[in-house]
Every structure is written in structure tokens, then in C-alpha cells.
């Protein structure tokens, strides 16, 4: 049974893509936006680099007493498009649920777009454009967060950017902030 008054978010990514960091940045922003109850946590255990992984976030106006994993999310964020097909990303997604995908495709290109709200943004392209690379690999976790305020009104872009600046310093922070700005501007939605 779903829980009332709590927005539950599942991040799908690959080990090393910073899904847990993304969840933490998002809930820090949500807290700053006045949501008193927030939580961010990994799938408990030992993750492997490159393997499909999940992270979770909860956002509420009140203190959250839930301590279990998320089975019926309101929002699914897919950091790596290649996971779709390997993992059933719509599993448990609520009827009016929304899916944000890092992809060069449009929302209508996904067959679940007639059933769910779908948002797409090329976070990989944005990461490359802003030179957000680790070991030559684009890091998409921060850029994709810029698109979240377009699918969730409880979090503002301003707070997400403040969270980014709180986590990193100097030019690294600035280019991540610019990336979130681009994602916010470029995201396409089918709703």
C-alpha cells in the first residue's frame, strides 16, 4: 500500500555513477525548500562498479518514520538509459507516476509514455559540454538533478544549485551549477 503525503523517488543507475550522491543532493535541496522530512539511502549492501544499482529518496512536509525500501515510487529517475530493459524501471510506479530519463530521445520514444509522465534530458551531453568528467567518463548525477524541478514542485532549482555549491567548491561547483541550469532548460516532458 502506498504511503500518503510522502514523495518517494527511486534512482536507477550503474555503480559509480553517483546515484547515492544525487539522492543526497536532492533531499538537501528539498530540506532547504521547507520539507521537514527527508531521507536518502542506497540499496543496503555492497554495490559493484558498472552493475545496475538503486538509490532512494523520500520527501515530506512532516517527519518520516518509514525505514524500509521504496516499493511504490512516485518518481523514477534513470541515470543510464541502457538499464531500461535490464531492470523493470516502472515496477511499482504509481498510476500518476513520473519518469525522468537521461537520454537523447524524446518522451514519446518510450512505449510507457502513454501510461506515465515522462521527462527526458541529455544529461550525458550536458556533462560532456561542461567538462564534468571523471577518468574521461561523463558524470551525469548532478546535471540530471537540474531537470527534477520540472517534474516535482517540492524542490526548486535554486536549492539544488545551493546544494551543489555546498558539496563542491570553485570551478567544479560552478560548472555543475551551469549543467543543472542547462538540464532545467532543455528537459522535454509529455505532460
Amino acid at each position: 500500500m502506498p504511503v500518503k503525503d510522502i514523495i518517494e523517488i527511486v534512482f536507477h543507475g550503474r555503480g559509480g555513477q553517483g546515484s547515492v550522491t544525487a539522492a543526497n543532493l536532492l533531499v538537501s535541496a528539498a530540506l532547504a525548500d521547507g520539507n521537514k522530512g527527508v531521507q536518502a539511502f542506497p540499496v543496503f549492501g555492497a554495490e559493484r562498479r558498472g552493475a545496475p544499482v538503486r538509490a532512494f529518496a523520500r520527501i515530506s512536509e512532516n517527519e518520516i518514520n518509514l525505514r524500509s525500501e521504496i516499493y511504490y515510487p512516485d518518481i523514477v529517475i534513470v541515470q543510464d538509459e541502457s538499464i531500461i530493459g535490464l531492470v523493470d524501471i516502472t515496477k511499482g510506479l504509481k498510476e500518476n507516476g513520473r519518469i525522468l530519463i537521461n537520454t537523447t530521445k524524446k518522451p514519446s520514444d518510450f512505449d510507457f509514455s502513454d501510461k506515465y509522465g515522462v521527462a527526458t534530458v541529455d544529461a550525458t551531453g550536458i556533462a560532456i559540454k561542461h567538462d564534468i568528467l571523471v577518468g574521461g567518463i561523463p558524470v551525469v548525477n548532478t546535471p540530471i538533478l537540474g531537470a527534477v524541478p520540472k517534474i516535482l514542485d517540492k524542490v526548486t532549482l535554486k536549492s539544488i544549485q545551493a546544494s551543489v555549491k555546498n558539496k563542491w567548491k570553485g570551478e567544479l561547483a560552478e560548472k555543475n551549477v551551469r549543467a543543472t541550469q542547462d538540464a532545467f532548460g532543455e528537459v522535454e516532458v509529455n505532460f
Binding site: 504511503v3 533531499v27 527527508v38
Partner: protein, 386 residues
């Protein structure tokens, strides 16, 4: 006061450092590792100015803490699972020597088979060492309990070590917000530790020598008296904390909707928080049920449990099992009620090995107990049937 959003372990590290222990001696073990890593970061930044001793095992960690605390200075450590078990001998030593060491234990499975997830068998199996045991259900409670524990452990009527337990990953690696008081407020609350005795190089004396049965019995009796004092002092400390900082997590037990309850659910740790959601849902369907989240397993709050059982049948969830019998909390609650109550008590084992326990699972447990479909101790969901 500032709001810090971080994992249970990093918030525990913050609390430990703000309590200004003179010595931290620890050995890393998953899932405790990020806690001692957090303290190491405070050493690097200069925020922690005490002595931080990296040792070669948990037995050595507790031995170093005993040496430190015996010289009369505030001492902190942290461990988990097999680390706690390796300390076992020295846990008894610390308690018998009446040393007010505060230690976080991140409840984790005991192997083999190897598993790093939440399970309370590690600390439950240290029940008889003489340590006071707290079980926390939120990151805020972890922070508050660590600070309070120094006050309680160092209280002249107690002088016993305290284990602050919280579930692996479910709390240790989950970010949640916690209000952090200013350092000045903590300093005012937690005065410098004044030991009743201590090792002193200038005035050498011998401890740990052979003593006769009569005196040994007195030592044990004094420990028991100290634990019984804690039954009174822990609620006083909780009340004072509420007055000073506005937060209250319960005293020996956190009670939620117990006043008119016909049924009361007992649980500990993170399951105790999730249980509140189950209680809300069951109440919305007209079932008069409350929650009693046990915060102190030692000292055991027998009197409070007797009071709660006056008008209600009890349901108990254990994230542990005493193999060959049943869940430890279930056993203890029934013993507390012997001859004082005819309340029906149903016991359930759930969440071993870190298996997720959802509010839906907890509602089903309560419904099964209320419907009278269980007898004695039940392994919940063991055959996949929830």
C-alpha cells in the same frame, strides 16, 4: 542550533566529537567504518582535539578504552557485529571496573554466512555484560542518545559503560536531518567528567587483584544497584533534554497511542519507527492499538511493561533470536509479566539478516496476533507468505 543532514554514522561522529572525549580508540568494521572515518576527518580538520588511537583489533580497542577510562578521562569507541563479539571479554571487564565508556554498536548480522545487514543478535548476545543498552530509531535519536549517554554513564549513581545501538545501513547509511545544538550548549550540558576513582601515576595503587567471594558478590550487587538507578535516572535525563533542547524520544520506552490501546506492539530499533506508520494505518481502520518502542534493553523496563499490560494484549517483534528458544524481547517481556498480568503475548521473529520489514509486514503481524492465529513464537514471512 543548525540542521545537519547526513547518515546515522556521520551524525554519530558529530555527536561523539561534540561530547569532547579525551580518547577515541577504534578499529573499523562495516558498517561502523564511516563513523570512525568521520571522527578521523574531525581529527584532520582540527575539530577533534583528543587522542585518537588506531588499534589492531576490537579486543585492543576496548582494552585501550579501559586503560583510558581508568585514568579518569572521557572515552568513546564504536564497533559492529564480529567486532563487538571480539570485545566480549573486555566488555565484562569495562563494566565490572565501572568505567563509563560510551560505545556505538551498529547492529549487524553475525556470520557465517557473511552478511553485513541489520540484525540485533550481536548486541543481544552481550546482554549479560553489565552494559546499559540503548536502541535508536532515527538519526536525531542517535545524536541525542550519544550526548545523553555520557551524562548517564558518568553519573555518580551509575558509573557503567553504555552501548548505543542502531541498525546497520537502515540508519548507519541513511541520510536524515538532525538538529545539532551549538558547541557551547553541549559544553554547558556535559560538564567535564569527574571520576570517583582513577589510575594516577603519582599515587600508584593496584586494581584487579584476587578478591574473596564476599567482596566479589558486593561488586556484582553494586552493578545491579547501578542499573536499577539507571531506571530512574534515564527518564530524568530524557525529561531534562526535552526542557533544554525540545526533543523527546521516550524515556525507557517510547509510547505511541498507548493510552486507550487494547493491543500494544513492542519493538526496538528502526522497526520501532516503521511501526508508527503501521499503528496509524491500523487505527484508521478502527483497531485500538498502540506502540511501545523499547529504548533500553538493559536496564530492562519491567515496571513500565507491567503498567502497559494492564489493559492490553501484547505483540512483540524481535530482530534477533536466541537459538533454541525464541526472540529475546519476547522472552523478557513475558518474564516481566509473570504473576502480574494475564495479558496475552504473541512473539514474532522478523527482519533477520537485514530482511526488509515494511509497515505492511508489521500491520500483518499485528492482525495475525489480534485474530489469535498465532501461538507462542512465530517466524514471520519465513515461507514467503506475508
Amino acid at each position: 542550533m543548525t540542521v545537519m543532514i547526513d547518515t546515522g554514522n556521520y551524525i554519530a561522529a558529530k555527536a561523539a566529537v561534540m561530547a569532547k572525549p579525551d580518547v577515541v580508540a577504534a578499529y573499523p568494521i562495516t558498517p561502523q567504518t564511516t563513523l570512525v572515518e568521520g571522527i578521523a576527518n574531525y581529527v584532520a580538520s582540527g575539530e577533534y582535539k583528543g587522542e585518537y588511537i588506531c588499534v589492531e583489533s576490537e579486543h585492543s580497542a576496548m582494552s585501550a578504552c579501559i586503560g583510558s577510562s581508568a585514568t579518569g578521562v572521557r572515552t568513546f569507541t564504536a564497533t559492529s557485529s564480529h567486532g563487538l563479539l571480539l570485545m566480549h571479554e573486555m566488555l565484562h571487564w569495562a563494566a565490572l571496573a565501572r568505567l563509563p565508556i560510551v560505545m556505538c554498536n551498529i547492529n549487524r548480522v553475525i556470520g557465517p554466512g557473511w552478511n553485513i545487514w541489520a540484525d540485533e543478535n550481536d548486541s543481544i548476545s552481550q546482554r549479560d555484560t553489565g552494559w546499559i543498552q540503548f536502541y535508536c530509531s532515527s538519526n536525531q535519536e542517535i545524536f541525542d542518545t550519544i550526548i545523553q549517554s555520557f551524562k548517564i554513564a558518568e553519573h555518580e549513581k551509575i558509573s557503567l559503560p553504555i552501548m548505543v545501538n542502531y541498525n546497520a545501513f537502515i540508519l548507519s547509511h541513511t541520510s536524515m536531518p538532525a538538529d545539532i545544538p551549538r558547541q557551547k550548549e553541549i559544553d554547558d550540558y556535559l560538564k567535564r567528567y569527574r571520576p570517583q576513582w582513577n589510575l594516577d601515576c603519582d599515587n600508584p595503587i593496584t586494581f584487579g587483584n584476587i578478591i574473596g567471594t564476599e567482596h566479589y558478590e558486593k561488586i556484582r550487587r553494586a552493578m545491579q544497584d547501578a542499573q536499577e538507578n539507571a531506571l530512574r535516572i534515564i527518564p530524568e535525563v530524557a525529561k531534562e533534554w526535552k526542557k533544554l533542547f525540545g526533543r523527546f524520544h521516550g524515556d525507557l520506552i517510547e509510547k505511541y497511542h498507548c493510552d486507550d490501546a487494547e493491543y500494544i506492539l513492542f519493538s526496538m530499533g528502526a522497526i520501532g519507527a516503521e511501526s508508527k506508520v503501521a499503528i496509524d494505518n491500523l487505527r484508521s481502520r478502527g483497531i485500538k492499538i498502540g506502540l511501545a518502542r523499547v529504548r533500553t534493553f538493559r536496564p530492562f523496563p519491567a515496571q513500565e511493561i507491567q503498567n502497559l499490560a494492564k489493559n492490553a494484549d501484547l505483540v512483540v517483534i524481535d530482530r534477533n533470536i536466541s537459538i533454541g528458544y525464541e526472540g529475546a524481547l519476547f522472552t523478557e517481556i513475558k518474564a516481566a509479566l509473570y504473576g502480574k498480568s494475564d495479558a496475552k503475548v504473541s512473539g514474532f521473529i522478523a527482519g533477520l539478516g537485514g530482511k526488509d520489514v515494511t509497515f505492511t509486514n508489521i500491520e500483518n503481524i499485528c492482525k495475525r496476533a489480534i485474530d489469535g492465529k498465532t501461538k507462542g513464537s512465530t517466524w514471520y514471512g519465513f515461507e514467503g507468505a506475508n
